[in-house]
Subunit: 133 residues, 2 copies
Amino acid sequence: MKLLDIGEVAERSGVAPSALRYYEEIGLITSAGRKGLRRQFGRETLLQLSLITLGKAAGFSLQEIAGLFGKEGQPDLPRSQLHARADALEAQIRELSALRDALRHVADCPAPSHLECPRFQKLLQAGTLTAKV
Amino acid sequence: MKLLDIGEVAERSGVAPSALRYYEEIGLITSAGRKGLRRQFGRETLLQLSLITLGKAAGFSLQEIAGLFGKEGQPDLPRSQLHARADALEAQIRELSALRDALRHVADCPAPSHLECPRFQKLLQAGTLTAKV
DNA sequence: GTACAACTTCAACTCAACTTGAAGTCAAGA
DNA sequence: TCTTGACTTCAAGTTGAGTTGAAGTTGTAC
């Protein structure tokens, strides 16, 4: 198996070397070994990093990501919890969609103050995070 | 206009009083005035907080949120930037959908190591954040 | 008019997720 | 062999987004 050193992993994954060391330190990834002092990573690390990047983009903490997908890609969590996570993501997707729509509304609606605009308020209600006004 | 004090705003918005003070300190919200020392907030603050909560859920920083929607709900940004934001959100929604699918796959697919599973890899490719493997 | 819960300020602390800097090591090419 | 650039460790610093604690103030209910 061809091994990559940290610089190459950094370049291909878009994750800074310092971050990769940090990820290793907290046990989120593992290096396949060392050549001298230098860490050598297996190719599967790149896949793991895709997963990590994705998870981060989804707003998971590194700890959570570590739980979602264990070292080798098997989750440490039971099925039901994974589905619960997926459901939570779906809720987040709805929030995001609401915000996207609100943004587009603000961009296009000529009203002076959007907070007053009933259409805008309705868009906000689409999010579930809305305060009890 | 009926004013609310910080405790009530906190309860209705789900945002801690300390956070509300912090938001005021950084200029993200403004209190309508004081009764003695106590801040009094107008009802529109609740709407603003919905927006802030939504923005946070979407991964925006407080600074960015401040830019997206100025104090009174008018954006500080030009139309084109707002649309660009909306587009970025849409991309994020796609990432999230990819992760959701990956999660459901992991929950349901009986393969021992998902990183090896071609179906799983394909799901990852659906995200654009993927490393060059 | 007094008790008390809910507020106030201000500084210091926390936490995650890194980054930066200093000082040292090492592999590979000229 | 020597140089160079990419790595190494370790400690300390940074940023954002608050929280916590101490010490003081005040509106309202009894």
